[in-house]
Symmetry: D2
Subunit: 359 residues, 4 copies
């Protein structure tokens, strides 16, 4: 349970890190929408971070095969299923350490949940690898949105890696510029000059056989006012549910986020005003959302990623079958900082969420 | 759309601030569970904050009438419907200012969403008053949980009001103590001596005809490992969706929250260890959740509340029908800091979420 | 569980026969739709069958109070809740016979389901009285459909009472006439001259302190082709799920129904043809639905109602607490043939189903 | 939309007749359940009717590949995805007749629904071939039920083919015998001697290049009382929704079905009685269900299948792009009577429905 989401754009993801394949089925698509499979594959390639020296050297082909739902290059309206075969899996790595619960991973919690029957190899269904089907679904959602909301922009930037922090953006007009693209699209920064420092922070963690977290900001431009619902189907509720689905996410804030607690109402209220016949707000502390519904300003939110739990350093843990303390050194290929691969996943969840609202 | 939630404990809330009544229907209850209606009413009274000098002087009776689903003091298994009649409403206050969009409120977004047909009086369905049905549903959920999980503890504390901040709690054992109760249950603090400073911060905002935000921490003790699901039905996804349903919430983090980005993996991983035959973690930076599933440690999360948008100070806004800039001074009875009434709502969402998982 | 339905037009019904009240909450309504509460009440009156000598003499006021969701006579877009207070309940009738399971009723099955904690008075939540909230929801759905699909017609006729049978209608053009109204709207018949014979069949059953079943045909005219979905969300799947929610329904067929098994494909295929520029079918054995989706012909289906289980005649049953055979004579006020009150309920389910598809 | 079903046993089916593959993803499975993939494949083989001279000569391998959710022969608790590659497809057959709407098929309705973008080859997503994923999901459900309800029996029999009819079974004890197996499992009959006459009826239809319908009865034995829910989640509502998902089904009745309208209440009520300490009913006109909930008697229902719409005979239809009358002769490989392959699909829907209720 838990792998199906959506009211109108229904996504069902499946697969395990070291099984036969991973994928997604999407139901609820309109018919007749052009799907550019090269763009879809490009989104998967962004997540795969192939050749990125800061990412895992595991070579993930992540080649998507669409099994159904597209005919003559367009959606049919029937469910669209996509399959990615797993390759380059070395299951042998995992059998010998299956009783050693990897700290920070789902191992122990999943063991309790599934009575030990879960596929433990590489985290199984809990693997970050399952974000590939999410990105696939997001890429399909983007194709739909391109057709039905061409003015909608979906973007993300890296705000911090460890203690290296970019500035908050308080002028919402900046997002209209950022949406056009970043100096380095593979490392999207408001201040591009921070790239080196951030990469050094990752390299420093690698040198310690450790990992490091970071902050991603997602944003949506060009969304008309009036999208969303009160309460359980608010933009915040729907989007946060998707964002917390991404492994390693531990926090989601909208607009000013936790800084909002220090503001006075007279500041945080985002005074309304007319500007050249258009309604806008002076500030955007509410992140483009009031009462769960868009107000026409950019939707802005931040997502906290914890350090990747797979590290080379020796860790204290338990041997579950022996119920004894133990030490664990995780071998193999790992991402020292998931943020450099996670921002396309954040964008994918935005696209899925918006498609669900706007279809 | 948006007022219905749940897989197993299904809640449907209804009502507007100045309509005939507000309430909730709950479907999916087990039969034969004792419901203590005095305890249920007590939860509503906690939210109503009657007599609290820091809260709105609007006298809300919030007397719940159970219409169905209870027979001879026990749940029947049929839907349980509860109704709270609205009293003490002065609709006349609102008609003359209906074109003036209250900044920070849902007014403008709702107008775009509903084409101006929403009940604008007192915010209508978007009113914070709709948290009363949430608290009612949470109170019923608590009764269920008391029966099926007597060892489960649900609590909350005020972490900050404006800039007055209590400490983060890094030793998870502290929650085992906090769950037993607070020195002042109406103002639950880890360090009770901060109460005065926090109240002064509110009083200072009132003096400026302004408002102020704050931070609430929710926690769950006694939850066994293995509760929750991966991805879209993770504890984080489900709980955050409920928390963001509460008006004024702009951020939700679990465990170390946004501080997690500065940690190394070797810290944030929460090393596992045996303690007297029990499995536990040394630290609890993950807030009791790995892979979306409980790991047996206390579930801990923080919720950021923005300053209440209704303030006495004059504000810049627009007159929507004239599409002109305007000023607005909100008259009437308002909460200067919703945090002092919101923590029981946070607890209610925990109870609803847990009932949905554990039924 | 089981009292909530709908994707876009979400209905949640509640109440017990002898509780404080019954009602429904509807979420997902568009805003700005005129609701004529007199027409809504009229639908409830049709079901209540007040003054109908063939129906139960129990005087049900069934006065609806709308608690929320309507403002200035129009839908607000927020949940619309309606409450009907129970009156004229004589709970004392039921306590003494609570261990005697009424054959044909839900008593024994509900007892197993709810462990004896269900409200047994008058069938509790299983009472036919719960069709009143269904009719209320259907009446609201009709108001919505009147606004968004003025050309849509929803109708029903009595096809048989016991062995007195009206003809099947094989020429689908007839429905275009029937939708305009029946000679006796309180007893809608294709051949009005059968009314006496049907009523005599009911009176004969009453004379034997027994009851009798019947067949209702529902139909929809003016529905464009292309409404519905394949598989689990076909018109047949969605509508049958609603129809089987009506107590006493034991069969649902579309088009030619069970006669279809005797037809050859060359007959049952409903040959397509052009008629004055319009696409139509020669026959309508498929009841206006192919592949779960409307084909532009009238939607036609039949619903079998069993005889009302409450009869005056002595019956064999068991005493559940004593686990012994027993006899039971049901006192009180009963409907000898529910068909005369059920056809408005069938129409209500059509309206709910169509609103869910067409919103 | 429409290809996803379930509350606890969630099925999502995908695929088109002539696409790359068809399949299903199942979410909500318990972990640790043995899955015998040979039995699963056997169920698919039953539907494929390989070598059955009365079925289509199209050779469907229908070899299932499980992509995820099984590890070491047991369910992991993660989504179980199954894929069947399409083989032996001759798409060229279809292109030239795509404008000729096949009467009785979904062609015209689907065209209206999807604006002509649906995959028209072989009916696309509307193909009877999509019952293979249903059977796959049902086979997995059977494995689950075998583990959690070993006493549960799921069966079906052919009641009629065209005008050749087997008897209704009025003594519910007979189902306890039938559940053990049929003389000819590939043609399950209460009276095995009717097989020849039924087959002759099919052969006669084939001789006329026509097709013929029939009636299947499904039954469940060993189900405890108390399973199901009132109203929208009644056994009848849930099961009928699944049954009407099967292409060609036009009617579903429970128990006495349409004959119930001619019965008196004193008959149809199924008098309760004690028998050797067990509670049972004398008759089973209600088909084992009261108020939507099982009463401990066998669940019995009948399903009407229309004649297969693909026939060799020349038919009147329209050319949709020219909007002109036309004639159509369908070439190719067709089933003259789908009943001989449909009964395993009926059993699959029972298993899916029961798994959803009983998990």
């Amino acid at each position: 349970m838990g792998s199906t989401w959506g009211n109108k754009f229904k996504v069902s993801i499946f697969g395990e890190s070291h099984g036969h394949g991973i994928g997604a089925v999407i139901d609820g698509l309109p018919s007749g929408i052009d799907i550019d499979l090269e763009r879809v594959q490009h989104e998967l390639n962004r997540r795969a971070a192939r050749g990125n020296p800061l990412a895992t050297p595991r070579k993930e082909g992540d080649q998507i095969e669409v099994l159904s739902g597209i005919f003559n290059g367009k959606t049919t309206g029937a469910p669209l299923a996509g399959l990615i075969r797993n390759e380059n899996t070395r299951s042998g790595d995992y059998a010998k350490t299956k009783d050693l619960m990897r700290p920070g991973h789902a191992d122990y919690a999943a063991n309790a949940r599934y009575g030990g029957f879960q596929d433990y190899r590489g985290g199984g269904h809990f693997s970050g690898r399952l974000t590939a089907p999410l990105v696939f679904a997001g890429a399909i959602a983007k194709e739909i949105l391109t057709a039905i909301r061409p003015e909608l922009g979906i973007g993300s930037r890296i705000v911090s890696i460890g203690d290296v922090k970019d500035e908050p953006i308080r002028d919402w007009r900046v997002y209209k510029t950022l949406i056009k693209g970043f100096e380095n699209p593979a490392f999207p920064l408001y201040h591009a000059n921070l790239e080196d420092a951030m990469k050094q922070a990752i390299i420093a963690a690698v040198a310690d056989e450790d990992s490091i977290g970071g902050l991603v900001e997602g944003f949506i431009t060009g969304l008309e006012p009036g999208v969303g619902n009160p309460f359980f189907e608010s933009i915040e509720s729907r989007l946060s549910a998707l964002l917390f689905s991404i492994p390693a996410v531990k926090g989601v804030t909208f607009g000013a986020g936790f800084e909002v607690v220090s503001l006075r109402g007279s500041q945080a209220n985002d005074a309304l005003r007319m500007n050249d016949g258009q309604i806008e707000t002076a500030t955007n502390y509410n992140g483009g959302i009031n009462g769960g519904i868009s107000n026409g300003m950019p939707i802005v939110f931040q997502v906290a990623f914890k350090p990747t739990p797979s590290i080379g350093k020796e860790q204290q843990t338990i041997n579950l079958s022996e119920r004894k303390d133990a030490t664990l050194t995780i071998q193999g290929r790992h991402d020292p900082c998931i943020v450099v691969r996670a921002f396309p996943v954040v964008e994918a969840t935005i696209a899925i969420c918006m498609a669900d609202f706007l279809l």
